[in-house]
Symmetry: C2
Subunit: 367 residues, 2 copies
């Protein structure tokens, strides 16, 4: 294998593919980065068996071939190449050593054979959808925060993509809160799949803010996303998702509209003493156009109040402050609407205008 390419291209490709490299694995080869020099193209591949990222860059290939390098070492070396030099050269010699050179700087590392490295398979797509890059990023960000961190119900550790009636809903839920994000999507057949939360979080880093159309091909077991500069293949989570549309069907009797940052800051202050104490909750008392916030733990007490637009009956209701805070922080709009019924029913959080997201947070029973 022997090729040259632009140093910055190499840096980008390694940074991207590295995201799918296993940091620790019983299979040593998965801690490696696969490099393949093809005709005028060099391919970098990271694969931890859950997620595979495949990134190609242009280059001048003298000798085709492939190898696997220790990912963290190679990536650090690429980052430290002299910034004033444009071209990087890579060559594997007969003694199975890879030589990376850039200007006067030269690195030699030993390599592993490429045969054992798991290549992603072309997936047997049953359907596909296209979503604009910036929109996909936004829909993932506004739902993935709500997924479960423990594995007792595996499907809750992922986000649901649900396509039907010309609408795409992305849903995250951990049993205590639920986040739904909807956008129009013209598509004939219904399609449902659950993407792993980990993969979704990596996608947040890989996706940009353009309106490039990301194609998502879906098979029974896998999804493959064609991003602008790489291809991401990921295992899907088996099983049925919960019936999210049946949640919080109660009738609401109190509606408030408030500045998102005001209520977020206020809950943030309360969570200062709640986060460190066990099972602490924050109490919201909403009446006469005011929200009174109160939190009391062994560490002390925090009180706050602010004015809101209010319609309906007063309420006293308690929440885990972290759940509220994460919902507010991912709301992405200046004003939000909160809808309540009783102290035992969940609150519904929506944008004051429009219906792009729909968040539900279960209250804490205090009496």
């Amino acid at each position: 294998m022997k090729f040259s390419c632009r140093r910055t291209d190499l840096l980008d490709a390694v940074n991207i593919a590295e995201r799918a490299v296993a940091s620790k694995s019983t299979m040593n080869i998965l801690e490696g980065l696969f490099i393949e020099a093809k005709e005028n193209e060099i391919r970098f591949l990271g694969n931890n068996l859950e997620l595979c990222i495949d990134c190609s860059i242009p280059g001048t290939v003298d000798v085709k071939g492939s190898c696997v390098v220790k990912a963290n070492l190679f990536s650090d070396a690429v980052k430290k190449l002299p910034a004033h030099v444009d071209e990087a050269k890579i060559e594997v010699n007969e003694s199975n050593v890879i030589l990376l050179s850039c200007g006067n700087a030269k690195f030699n590392f030993s390599i592993a054979g490429a045969d054992d490295f798991p290549r992603p398979q072309e997936i047997d797509a049953i359907d596909d959808i296209c979503v604009k890059e910036y929109l996909l990023k936004n829909m993932i960000r506004q739902t993935v925060y709500a997924v479960s961190q423990n594995d007792t119900k595996p499907y809750l550790t992922g986000i649901l993509f649900d396509v039907k009636q010309n609408e795409l809903s992305v849903v995250g839920c951990d049993g205590y809160r639920l986040a739904i994000r909807r956008e129009e999507l013209i598509h004939e057949n219904p399609l449902k799949f659950i993407m792993q939360g980990k993969t979704a979080r990596e996608l947040l880093s890989l996706l940009g803010e353009t309106d490039y159309e990301v194609k998502i091909k879906v098979s029974d077991k896998q999804a493959q996303l064609t991003l602008k500069n790489c291809t991401v293949t990921t295992r899907l989570i088996d099983g049925d998702y919960l019936n999210y549309e049946g949640v919080a069907k109660h009738e609401n009797t109190l509606f408030i509209v408030t500045d998102t940052k005001d209520i977020a800051d206020s809950i943030d202050r309360a969570s200062l003493i709640a986060s460190e104490a066990v099972k602490a909750h924050v109490l919201l008392k909403i009446e006469d156009g005011q929200v009174h916030i109160n939190c009391e733990t062994v560490l002390g007490q925090v009180k706050d109040k602010f004015e809101v637009e209010m319609q309906g009956d007063p309420i006293e209701i308690a929440f885990n402050p972290r759940y509220l805070l994460e919902a507010f922080k991912n709301a992405d709009c200046k004003e939000i609407k909160l809808s309540f019924s009783t102290a035992l029913n969940p609150v519904v959080i929506q944008p004051a205008e429009g219906n792009s997201f729909y968040y539900i947070v279960l209250p804490v029973r205090v009496h």
Copy 2:
């Protein structure tokens, strides 16, 4: 105790005094922040017995008094006060609870009595010097990196201040490398003291870039620095410092001048494989106006070379790359001069122009 003050003043004072609060201590009271309301002035005090920071701000005091609050909790609360409100109010009630309020936000925390909190004593100064703030910061930064991280020779964990012949020298050394930073200082009598490395590092955060004259009063056991916005009292390290002026008195036979960033980047690349391996060194071969750098470990090999201005005989000499790198990174000038004699004698690193710093690094014996 009852007072009001500007929220931003409160924030600044707590941020500063908090730096001297013990994060974990067998004496609970040392994890606290001492607050004292005096006539038109509020004083905040952190004291971990090694270092004490005393910071006062103006305020309107209704009831004088003092108390000790849990430092991390109180500091977090102050940071989270509503940013649009100017005034913060603090009051201690009869049940030994401190009430911090700012706009509608109110925090209650329990407090400890102030009697047990160790106040700094007025020190019995034997001498004092004044150094401009920005200069003191620079002199500390350019020497403290070289102090020892282990306690076998306590005096090496601190930096020496040595005043004589109208010159202040600040010195850091760990036995393998030495950093000297000199500036003119008109002062009649010789004065020597060793400041703890920890204290010196805290001072880096506290000192600004102005030419405010910091007064340093020195007693047998303590030093007290009057900064622009606080007073720092610290224990000094007992004992004699090594005779740093007798180090590296050999005659040098090779001199090179090089771009500081070039050589630092080059050693940084070499250290990529050296830092992870045991007892790795980087070999410098200097001849014909070129520096050849080579580093070989179990992880691979890194080579580099660059041109330098050179006067004298060629040399091959090996170093711990970290020591070289830290010296270069703290050099603070575009070009540096390196002076060598033999492969067994230390290298002297100085600015290409002037003599503000003087660094010495011992080589590694490889043959």
